[in-house]
Symmetry: C2
Subunit: 675 residues, 2 copies
């Protein structure tokens, strides 16, 4: 298939492709796919191809035939705009990603979307593009590996033993989240994490000298990383030497690779013009000439394809591991079964029964506690059955109430470590959680004040987009936070978290709903849950068995009217008790609907939804100490909302609830004003 | 008033209070106010009091009688939970903040809220509490000072010449935003920025060794800062020496102060228990004893009050500056007038007329361009009249189209510098904008893709909470972004930005609305505006004079029905033209409402709103390529929404618009389905 040409060296290529030839295969897959799509980013793949070649062909342990092999190395493209580099690697290595898939780059429903999406493409470990978060996910994966190894490995049985490789660019390093997670990786001594910095001096606006003058190697040394400086990112020998250093490090490793963006393009190499647009037909022709690449677009000569193909090596990697694991299962059957259960994402047998019993008992006992306390009680009840439940708080452990009696610091030596002190790093924390759940073996939770979900917001969105099983715990859910004032009082956060697609937000009204929300978050496998809890005590609500079961449907009739409802009060969280008290004053025609999760309620069938909120009853009042407008979806133009219309204020909570109109009287008045 | 006691040294106190005595005044104001409120953070004020004493009494140039004196030094408490330190300083220095104000700490509508709020308390430069952002605001202020000095100072007339002092704690340094802005401050060589790190080894969860092991001095040196290491934060001489070093630096300065949180508390000093809760009566008594503070709560002996009072010195500072400025005004009358105009936040005379003319001409010309291009055209039209319009993009200049023909890099020597290359730092960029507008002299704008407003979200909220005049420009406003895929396609962002109180969001439908939105953002002084623009071309819409004027009301009838409307189509941005085309098919009874800003529309009087959306007409269809549910507010339970219900996808934009149902047919069908 290799066709001779005036400058080619067909014999050499036919017999033994050079490393540069192999890297050029990546370059031209990227160049040609971007050109075909008339959209995309050729510069990064052209710049990092030589690094990728050394890493993937000589070090990356994976099995293209089984992208889910549990002990594979993880490869993360944090500079996700260079997605064609990853697609080229996956294709050449022998993953289920054909040349036709590459030709469909950036086309509707193709397996080669604009940025790597783990739900679209096998072999893609996480979805990247939003800069910095790939590195953060990788830190989560490396932490997961470390904790699993500590828990499951035994003398002679390193069944958990893999690396996490990261490619990242200047953009990732400018983003604040890189600071948060690199700091934690250093503290945690994640020595199996190796990041390659594509140090090409170019970002979209041009040469970074005008806006990025950090001494990045010194910065990472300050985090406690091993830094390999001044590696020529186009010299395989230097790259190999750097990786050898990395393999011996007892700390996370940054390999600083000087590269040329758009390497090989005579007129665009080293320039931002190669970053985010096709090179163009003429420049591609010149690049082919310059790099002596004689092949048509999407044509890979057999000997190059063969040199790249990793299926045989991958099968052996996995077989070797499987043999080890089988022996381990013989020697340590319980550990092996537990490891397999956790990696499969299955809950322990009996969990559902334990949860049922706990929730039923809570309903009977009726504790009057803050829902953040009820959350801690739920963790205390569930976590002993769930060693995979691992998490922590962004330096608010005693406010978020995330610590429980069995908490053991992950930054120590305990084999059962399950608690993470994230420090004041909400964004990094959340993206690390995403990485842990993507790795497998964990149901991670993270926690902060609800208002500071803002800091983490895009990581919450990414968990929802990826359908990642993560639990985001947010306490201090309203003006009920009190004296800390409007900077700390969430208003729009409930509504705007609910608007993130595939994100289940829960705001429970008492200890029972709190426990149900935790259970839902644990059992939900195809996306994240945000559990939103109060600072202040909440009354206990009475329920019969059906009501208790219906909590899990997101919304249910907590107190029914005599006959068809004349008026429906809809409330969440701390405002449910207000609704119950108002209903008592408003008479028998009033129904109270508790709506802990609008997201879950909206997924119920139409018959159930209509049974709870019959279309015929338009006298509806929604009550929530958050953005009022959100509730128009349920009360329409003719209903009323007792909600917030602006910021809170610094004062004791009870003063604020009165001032902002969250009183029984105000609810009664709003209802009566409907006529 | 100083009462003798067994261990006191009344003579010494009566004649010449020691520096420690003076610092103790701050400590006890904090201790006693927190105790009185039964809520708050005494540990930080007790730890940083000695630093504050040296800084405020010997270096901070300000005038308590005129907190708005333009050339004052700016003092920023980035660790805002220590608010009582700032209130104590303001009170003792002689600001309009009485001892009764301090006694009302954290009470409703007091001038001493839980965290410093610049809209509640004179002398507070910015609102802090959300960690890291105070430092970011300070970087913006220091940049503002530098740019104004370059523009206005003349030989012998350094009329702009002040410092920006920052107090910050471990929490600020853990937050990612500290990385973004410290990096920029280093690149920009903001040598008048001096930050004091309260290095007390304690954060809320305890000793930071478990989660914060950065070599912070090395990290800041990597950013290009001058770092003064190992300063004993309780030794005034060492603090003084450090400040002297800072005054000579040609780079921003970090002074690393080792301190003891809760200094002086026998049982809580050095412990997290002093951080966020009152010390308690007994411990306070012990602390009084240990620090030999013989005074009752809120009692400040006269000689200590006198030593702190800065009114005389402040009056002199301002008078000296005023004399200089008067002479400057003689020598450079135009510059002085321009400086005064800009610092007063007044637009140039004639701006309104220029804007009117530009907008009228656009309506006549009817260019068909992407609204991001229309945004650039508006900048091009307005910026020559507005030297205070200074901003840039987070490394997306050529996508956001924020550069214009008069752009001059702020990181250079040009006296008319007006363009900022922020690098890939959305959060830091936005918080820096907030700092610039709070400083005065600028209308800052910042820009990124709409989806990455997520990264900046809490800074957008802070600009809205503070009522800060900033302009946040967001392009690539929908699935119309196309091939980059769902990580880059905003869905919930429009709705959730609109839900931030006091944040005006605009999504214009053509070049004319784009220009009007820019004008509104420029003219709005009491809060931020988010201007949301398309990647793709948008049709021009016809308007008469009244319609043209009504754009500024946020929503208006773009095409009216014959007679009272039978059906109303409400749309924004790229979907307005769809609505217009659908209306043409649906017949004469259809009204089309263009709603570029729901926030502004909602502020109009009821008569206007009802005239645009008459209550009687309930057949309403809203069309927006964003979260559908948001529009229930306008269409109620009986209307329909053509909107997004999940994530987008990677494909060319036209494919996506068809796939997700943004077609004339779909709108027509949705309308007809209403019956």
């Amino acid at each position: 298939m290799g066709r001779p040409g005036p400058r080619a060296s067909p014999t050499k290529i036919m017999t033994q492709p050079s490393r540069r030839d192999l890297a050029n295969a990546l370059r031209f897959l990227a160049i040609d796919a971007v050109q075909a799509a008339n959209s995309g980013h050729p510069g990064m793949p052209m710049g990092m191809a030589d690094i990728a070649e050394v890493l993937w062909r000589d070090h990356h342990r994976h099995n293209p035939a089984n992208p889910k092999w549990q002990n594979r190395d993880r490869f993360i493209l944090s500079n996700g705009h260079g997605s064609m580099l990853q697609y080229g690697l996956l294709h050449l290595a022998g993953y289920d990603l054909s040349i036709d898939d590459l030709k469909a780059f950036r086309q509707f429903e193709s397996r080669t979307p604009g940025h790597p999406e783990n739900f679209m493409t096998c072999g893609v470990e996480t979805t990247t593009g939003p800069l910095g978060q790939g590195l953060a996910n990788a830190v989560g994966m490396a932490l997961a590996e470390k904790l699993l190894a500590r828990r499951f490995n035994r003398e002679g049985f390193d069944v958990v033993d893999h690396r996490t490789w990261v490619f990242m660019g200047d953009g990732c390093l400018m983003e604040g989240v890189s600071h948060e997670v690199a700091s934690l990786a250093g503290t945690w001594k994640l020595n199996k994490l190796v990041a390659f910095w594509d140090d090409n001096s170019i970002s979209i606006d041009g040469n970074v000298q005008g806006w990025f003058t950090d001494d990045t190697p010194a910065r990472f040394e300050a985090y406690g990383w091993t830094v390999v400086r001044n590696v020529n990112g186009h010299d395989p020998k230097e790259i190999e030497t750097a990786i050898q250093t990395a393999l011996k490090s007892e700390k996370p490793v940054l390999i600083c690779c000087r590269t040329t963006i758009g390497f090989g393009s005579p007129n665009k190499a080293g320039k931002e013009s190669s970053h985010g647009a096709p090179l163009g037909k003429d420049e591609i022709a010149l690049t082919r000439e310059g790099l002596e690449w004689k092949y048509a677009p999407f044509e890979i000569p057999a000997e190059i394809a063969s040199a790249w193909n990793a299926r045989e090596a991958g099968a052996k990697h996995e077989a070797d591991w499987q043999a080890l694991f089988d022996a381990y299962a013989q020697a340590h059957p319980e550990l092996a079964a537990e490891y397999s259960r956790r990696m499969a994402g299955e809950l322990p047998q009996g969990f559902a029964g334990e949860a049922d019993a706990y929730i039923a008992k809570l309903q009977e006992d009726g504790p009057v506690v803050a829902s953040r306390k009820a959350s801690q009680m739920a963790i205390e009840a569930f976590a002993p059955h769930l060693p995979e439940l691992v998490g922590g708080s962004a330096d608010l452990a005693h406010s978020n109430l995330t610590l429980w009696s069995g908490s053991k610091d992950a930054n120590g030596d305990d084999a059962n470590a399950n608690y993470i002190y994230f420090g004041v790093r909400e964004f990094g924390m959340t993206a690390i959680s995403n990485g842990m759940t993507l790795h497998g073996g964990f149901i991670p939770y993270d926690a902060t004040f609800l208002v500071f979900s803002d800091y983490a917001r895009n990581a919450v969105r990414m968990s929802a987009l990826m359908g990642a099983h993560a639990v985001h715990v947010y306490t201090h859910d309203s003006i009920g936070l009190g004296e800390d004032g409007p900077t700390h009082q969430p208003i729009e956060h409930l509504a705007s978290l609910r608007y993130i697609p595939n994100n289940d937000v829960w705001r429970p009204c008492d200890a029972v709903e709190s426990a149900v929300s935790w259970r839902a978050a644990i059992e939900r496998k195809d996306g994240p849950s945000c559990l939103v809890f109060s600072r202040q005590n909440l009354a206990h609500q009475p329920r019969d068995g059906e009501q208790l079961r219906n909590i899990a449907r997101g919304g249910y009739v907590l107190k029914d009217s005599a006959g068809a409802p004349e008026l429906i009060l809809i409330a969440t969280g701390s405002e449910v008790d207000l609704a119950m008290q108002a209903a008592a004053q408003l008479g028998e025609g009033v129904r109270v609907v508790s709506m802990p999760s609008t997201d879950v309620f909206d997924r119920q069938d139409g018959a159930y939804r209509d049974a709870v909120l019959p279309d015929a009853c338009r006298k509806r009042v929604a009550i929530e100490a958050g953005t009022a407008d959100f509730w128009r979806k349920y009360v329409g133009l003719d209903g009323a909302v007792v909600g917030m219309h602006g910021y809170g204020s610094s004062a004791p909570a009870d003063v604020l609830f009165r001032h902002f109109g969250f009183t029984v009287d105000a609810v009664v008045q709003a209802a009566r004003a409907l006529g």
